[in-house]
């Protein structure tokens, strides 16, 4: 116990005097002894203040939570960790980010062990904020946080973090998981456009080997694209990695068949296909989405009618969309009008529906503001793009690579790349 006590005294002393680098060095040296005493370190924490002695607290906490933990130990640890996350000092944490991340991950494990994911949501969010270098930075904690949100069904909290754009990534695996979980949260909130964006990012990310996350994401991508766009294109964009282009389709055969059947427009065929592959969809936990796909097919068919007809009787709608009765047709049309997907009026006396044009005239102040802000946003994005381009062109690694691959016609040829960079 002695070295630990000495350490605690050091922590208290050096933290208050502000000599953090010295403390950091001491702590690194004391790492081994801490791990040895891991089971008995818990009471030590009471002697330290998380806000002032964050770095020291972190080391001890990490030693405490290393190794396998039983349920009682977990419940004992959860509260201190949560309190620590809330009150720790960000600058001290950032000196040793990987320890902080591993503490948070253990925290998540414990919370899941206790089967109370909701307890972990708020602390995780605070943790993310503290360790992020900027709001565009993706940490390893993002996917953990989203996983907790999913398990505890607190979609709103998860969605708040999805609104931020990510441009810097530490680990590709984090990005995949983040986008995948993010996609699922957006689906839960019925924000299909954002879900499609996120899932699309996973599927088209550069990867050297096909991973399971990409396969699952592709399956969901197909379904969400059918629900949102009423359409699906089997060809992946050019910038998708070649491994993905070749292999993803093989893993998601039932879904691609579903998409092809959808495009043909017959509800009966679609339902037959769903019954055939019902087990596979259930195993992937996608059956709910598949059911949404079926109901979106009615919507698509009704929408196509608006392109061709000005007025149509409810019975005719029911017939052409293959619904059972005019009453059902009325329900569907009503719901679509409420959701703003079509513009129409229903005349119940005649049983007629009159389709109207989109009343948006693009003349209001609100619309002008919207357009103006879009322009500003896109200009900012453009500037960012130019900046990144400049950065890369002046990056020495890039210069050396292009220098090497440059063709040599003649010794006297005009040299685009300075000699210095040719390695």
């Amino acid at each position: 116990m002695e070295p630990v006590q000495a350490l605690v005294a050091n922590i208290q002393g050096l933290s208050s005097s502000g000599d953090i680098p010295h403390l950091h060095a001491l702590l690194k040296q004391a790492q081994e002894s801490l791990y040895a005493e891991s089971t008995r370190l818990l009471p030590v924490l009471d002697q330290l203040d998380p806000a002032k002695h964050s770095l020291g607290y972190l080391y001890i906490l990490e030693a405490c939570s290393s190794g396998s933990i039983s349920k009682e130990q977990a419940s004992a640890l959860v509260l201190p960790i949560a309190r620590f996350i809330n009150s720790c000092a960000a600058e001290q944490i950032r000196l040793q980010p990987d320890k902080f991340i591993s503490v948070c991950k253990r925290f998540k494990d414990q919370v899941m062990l206790l089967e109370a994911p909701l307890r972990g949501v708020a602390p995780m969010l605070t943790a993310i904020r503290k360790i992020q270098a900027s709001s565009e930075h993706l940490t390893s904690l993002h996917p953990e946080f989203l996983l907790l949100c999913l398990l505890s069904k607190s979609y709103k909290a998860g969605y708040s973090i999805l609104d931020e754009d990510i441009f810097e990534v530490d680990q590709p695996r984090d990005l995949f998981l983040y986008c995948y979980y993010g996609g699922m949260i957006c689906i839960g909130q019925k924000r299909f456009r954002k879900a499609l964006e996120l899932l699309h990012n996973v599927v088209t990310s550069p990867m050297t080997v096909v991973n399971a996350i990409a396969v699952e994401a592709y399956k969901k991508h197909i379904l969400v694209s059918l629900i949102h766009n009423w359409n699906f294109s089997t060809s992946l964009p050019k910038y998708t990695s070649s491994v993905a282009q070749r292999n993803l389709k093989n893993f998601s055969q039932p879904y691609i068949e579903l998409a092809n059947c959808y495009v043909s427009g017959k509800i009966v065929d679609l339902e037959a296909l769903v019954d055939k592959y019902r087990e596979k969809y259930e195993n992937d936990n996608n059956l709910g989405l598949v059911k949404q796909v079926i109901s979106s097919m009615y919507k698509r068919n009704i929408q196509r009618l608006t392109q061709t007809y000005l007025t149509l009787s409810l019975q005719d709608i029911a017939n052409s969309v293959q619904l059972n009765s005019a009453k059902e047709a009325e329900m569907h049309v009503l719901r679509m009008i409420e959701d703003g997907e079509i513009f129409a009026t229903i005349n119940q006396k005649d049983g007629m529906v009159r389709f109207l044009e989109d009343p948006e005239q693009y003349k209001t102040c609100h619309m002008i503001e919207h357009i103006d802000s879009s322009i500003q946003r896109i200009m900012a994005l453009s500037r960012k793009l130019t900046a990144i381009d400049e950065n890369i062109s002046t990056d020495p690694l890039f210069m050396s690579k292009t220098g090497r691959e440059r063709q040599r016609f003649d010794f006297d040829d005009f040299d685009g790349v300075p000699q210095k960079f040719i390695i």
Partner: protein, 445 residues
Amino acid sequence: MEGDDDTSGPMIDDEIYANGVDGDNEKRSRPIMSSEQLDIEAYASLYSGRTKIMRLLFIAQRSQSNEAMELEALRMAYDEIKKGENTQLHREVVQKIVGRLGPEYGMDVAWCDTVDRRAEQKKEKLENELNAYRTNLIKESIRMGYNDFGDFYYAHGQLGDAFKSYVRTRDYCTTSKHIVHMCMSSTLVSIEMGQFTHVTSYITKAEQIPDALDPVTVAKLRCAAGLAHLESKKYKLAARKFLETGPELGNHYNEVIAPQDVATYGGLCALATFDRMELKNKVIDNLNFRNFLELVPEVRELINDFYSSHYASCLDYLGNLKANLLLDIHLHDHLETLYGQIRHKALIQYTHPFVSVDLHMMANAFKTDVAGLEKELEALITDNQVQARIDSHNKVLYARHADQRNATFQRVLQTGNEFDRDVKSMLLRVNLIKHEHNLRSSRKH
């Protein structure tokens, strides 16, 4: 309007259906509709050579429901075959007749044997001659030898060998006339074989020879090119080729095609694929083509009706011609597509000048019922060929012109969103690639 005598009633209706202005003020006369059966003798007399036999056999095959016609065709085919030297075809035709025409039209074994023996002798003689010429290395004689071989094989129905022989003459051609002759023979055999890729290549070869082409040959080449395009379903190109055929063709290409066919194929393809301007310039005002159209007055009438918007009579003519055209060896499998396209064009042209159209009147003009018409229009609107909307309650079609301003705004906002999304994904990917590259280079060091 109301309470007038009955005679003016139908006249007024006629005027209402007619969607265009009668250019000349003479009363529209109802000419003779040829819905009567194809006169096989007249039809067969237009052709000569192998194609006559093939056409007759095709007619027989297609009119198996109409026994009289089938037997007539088979009888004429038998007579024609007897005039030639093709014993294989003779056997085929006898099989098809199945003795229904009596004993004179049965298997003539004696004749077959004589012909076959003669063929053997001739073949030996030709081979010896050819070998002699080959040892002597006289180019012209070798060429003639191969040509004779080609003719011989063609007469005996061995088309593949005929083709090979004709192609062999290529190496021994010395003047451009020879090359033209080779091309024409190869084209003929290829058409009979149905290999239209060869046809196209040999036509191109022949057309590249600058001087040796007289008008008749040019006309023949155009027809052959038209046929090739027709077979590959390029109807617009086929129409153009047929329309460019000069009247010098006359009866010179009867081994392949009759001038009536040029008119029919050209007219129908043009009607199905040309727009109004082109139709007027290239077909109606085309003096050369008028000579051909005189031979098939129904096609001429039907084109004029379409142009002057008398759709009912135009579609009537088409219907009447259909039965006979289905018996044509080159046109039969394209007929449905062409008819469909002509009908669509008629519908589109009808609705084009109006802001609103009463579907009942339109159905009368096209001699169909409102429900069917609605379905057809729905298909055309979904295909974006007609810019209109159907008011199903009142059965009226309203023209709809897209609001450009709104559409532009919508597209702009959408493009902005897409740009946003794509650039963000791209920056993310760039970051990942850079990260991976850094990883790899750090591993190397």
